[in-house]
């Protein structure tokens, strides 16, 4: 055991002196997190909708048009202010973002409903629209559909020879009908990271796959430089060399990922939740990443080949794991994406940040340790072309 520690400590000292490990494991990911957070952080999700303003041009004396505006103001749970202005002003306010949307109800809207010649209303979504604009458009569509249904029913009544004095009542009845289908709100557990949290987790996962290479993949470099045969001639088991290289990867991975999560979390105000659970996730993902390096070390003939294979695997798994943007898929592709240890790591952090503890992250942890076991076995089975260990 003493020999293993001596080799591990010597390797770690060497790696820390080599500036590239600091650059790749800490500096580059932090810089990327900062830049990407500046770029996409503006799209950070809130937990409630902003108050909305509608700049509406409403024809005077049109009861149906007025009813549309009143319907907007009466929606429960949404803060909507309607400001009645002329058409030009409604367009201008939507355009420059002073209003969430502009609403143009045409002259003769109500008369059109009565005569069966319905006229479209126009919604202008400008710079300030966003999700709130979509909500307002949806509400308006529902209201106009209701008016349309009332119009169709009254026209059908005329076709059925319903007495004319009852036709208006039919339209009124449809327009104000009590719904038979009602919605009740259910709740699902929250397993999502914020946009900044996803960036921090994804970048930490991506660069972990580079960081762990500084340990195990130095086997190939040592072979190229001729120091590996020298090491193997020492009075110790060959396995000790392998274990010490694995330990270097593991320790560098743990330190780098922890530093990235802590600094990234502080920089962008992300709380990843329960410390023991996050610790278990870091442990699992570093184990999975290290196991992968043993396969590369065996398959690659030279250090250069090993670095190429590592880079390809790192960027592929990193991007598939959501290091730059969330990648969602369903079906077989979705399952395949879920088996990626980086994706499992990000998912696990989503669960912990939503309040989950150690018992809630069984799935992701199982994926990462399962990955480590399978890949670890694979590393003993694949043909040994590289390190002769």
């Amino acid at each position: 055991m003493g020999r293993i520690w001596t080799m591990t400590a010597a390797d770690l000292k060497q790696r820390i002196r080599d500036r590239s490990v600091i650059i790749f494991a800490i500096v580059v990911p932090l810089a990327l997190m900062g830049i990407l957070n500046l770029v996409v952080g503006g799209a950070e999700e809130g937990t409630k909708l902003e108050p909305m303003t509608v700049a509406a041009s409403v024809p005077s004396g049109d009861d149906s048009a007025t009813a549309i505006v009143s319907a907007l103001e009466g929606i429960e749970g949404l803060s909507i202010t309607v400001e009645e202005v002329d058409e030009e002003e409604a367009r201008a306010r939507a355009d420059d973002g002073r209003a969430t949307i502009g609403l143009l109800i045409p002259e003769g809207f109500g008369a059109g409903l009565r005569s069966g010649d319905g006229r479209d209303i126009t919604v202008i979504e400008g710079d300030g629209a966003g999700l709130e604009g979509q909500v307002l458009t949806s509400v308006l569509t529902g209201t106009v559909d209701r008016f349309g249904a009332a119009m169709v029913a009254s026209q059908a009544a005329i076709g059925l020879d319903v007495p004319p004095q009852e036709v208006a009542g039919i339209a009124q009845q449809v327009a104000t009908s009590e719904p038979t289908l009602t919605l009740v709100d259910g709740k699902a557990s929250d397993e999502q990271l914020s946009a900044s949290g996803a960036l921090v987790a994804g970048q930490a996962g991506l660069f972990l796959l580079f960081t762990v290479g500084f340990g195990v993949l130095s086997l190939n470099a040592e072979r190229d430089q001729g120091t590996l045969p020298r090491l193997l001639s020492m009075p110790m088991r060959a396995g000790s060399v392998l274990i010490s290289k694995g330990l270097v990867s593991f320790l560098l991975g743990i330190v780098a990922t922890t530093v990235l999560l802590v600094i990234g979390g502080l920089m962008f105000g992300v709380d990843f939740g329960s410390l023991p659970a996050v610790g278990l996730l870091v442990l699992s993902v570093v184990t999975a990443a290290t196991s992968l390096m043993f396969v590369i070390a065996r398959v690659a003939k030279t250090a250069e080949q090993a670095n190429i294979a590592q880079s390809i695997i790192a960027v592929t798994l990193g991007i598939a794991g959501g290091a730059f943007f969330p990648l969602a898929a369903t079906g077989l592709l979705g399952t395949l994406l879920d088996l990626n240890p980086i994706a499992a790591f990000t998912r696990g952090l989503g669960i912990t940040s939503g309040g989950g503890g150690v018992t809630d992250i069984g799935g992701p942890v199982l994926v990462m340790f399962g990955f480590a076991v399978v890949v670890g076995l694979l590393s003993r089975l694949v043909p040994n072309r590289g390190t002769s260990l």
């Binding site: 500036r19 590239s20 650059i23 790749f24 500096v27 580059v28 810089a31 990327l32 990407l36 770029v39 503006g42 999700e45 937990t47 409630k48 367009r91 069966g116 010649d117 319905g118 479209d120 209303i121 400008g126 710079d127 979509q134 949806s138 529902g142 008016f147 349309g148 249904a149 119009m151 169709v152 026209q155 059908a156 009544a157 076709g159 059925l160 319903v162 039919i170 009845q173 449809v174 009908s177 719904p179 038979t180 289908l181 009602t182 919605l183 009740v184 709100d185 259910g186 699902a188 557990s189 397993e191 999502q192 080949q305 390809i312 960027v315 991007i319 969602a328 369903t330 998912r347 939503g354």
Partner: protein, 387 residues
Amino acid sequence: MRAVLAVAGAELLRFLRDKSNIFFVFVFPMLLVFVLGSTFGGGGSQGGVRIVGEDGALRDALVAQLESQDLSADVTSEDDALEQVSRGRAAAALILPDGAESAYEDGDSTRLEIVPTSGTSGIAMRQQVATAVETVQLRSAEVEALTQRGAEASAAESALDAAEERVTVPGVQVRDVDDVAQAFSGVGQFEVGATSQLLLFVFLTSLAGAATLIQARRDGVIARSLSAPVRPGQVLLGQTTGRFAIAMFQGLYIMIATALLFDVSWGNPVLAVLILACFGAVAAGAAMLLGSLIDNEAAASGIGVGLGLVLAGLGGGMAPLEIFSDTLRKVAHITPHAWAYDAYAEIQRHQGGLVEILPQLGVLIAMAVVVLALGAWALRRSVERSL
């Protein structure tokens, strides 16, 4: 001149023989253009709605109504729907309880469960689903109003169908005057992604190649070249031209491959190559500067990749500049990427010509002159030091 071209040719050949480049230069950019185009190019829904419930008229009506609102609606199991909502892969789940279908047929009251995802996209989707649910029951309200006045249900149905044919139903027209939406109107699915990847990879490939300059110095290749009957200036110019050739090769490859594979339109080809040449010259100069100022290959490679990614992120090489805030967009223009991005946007999307892109080209050329001069000076100094 022949000596310069020979040195540059050797540099390009070395670059092409490097096996790692097969993936990173040829495959990876195309993969990213494809993934980005497929993920974000299609208009970007917010994950859609997952519907749970037995097969029937209500479920079909809800799916059709949600789709008519431009939302994706997929039928799935309850566990799957809730998991997807928890993970943010769906914006909401709509659960139809047992018996909902028969209650709908009979016109009885039913309560449907809506489970929105956390955050504002869930709140927005909840409202959209509420609109859909409200709309699907309008038909039964219509029939009921007519039957209450003595019409047979079947007669009411046919009268409603006939009325729908006869009248013009009012609707909602949406006009999007958002600057971002305007900037991208009429843009192909892969175009913005292809421009971003072009800028990212031309600069990244050039900077990552800075390490070969250090290698050439360390292994004595430059010293050996200087012992041949060529002037030091020619060797330096050859190295610079080599870096420039690598940048142009990467850029032209992405342009041609994306045009062929993804039908990306690069606008006027002469102007597109001109922008690339100006941008490539900045990249070549930056690579020379990096390769000359640093003596450690591994560190140069790390800084090169890091700087390549960070500058691309800031300059529109990872996300479109149009979505940046005004301040950040100003800051972005310290990078050559942002100027080249603007120039490409001008010729690709706004039918701009040479005159319209002259300001951007001017800035790029000025940047190129500065970094190339600094790079040549630094390289000369480092070569002299290594001799």
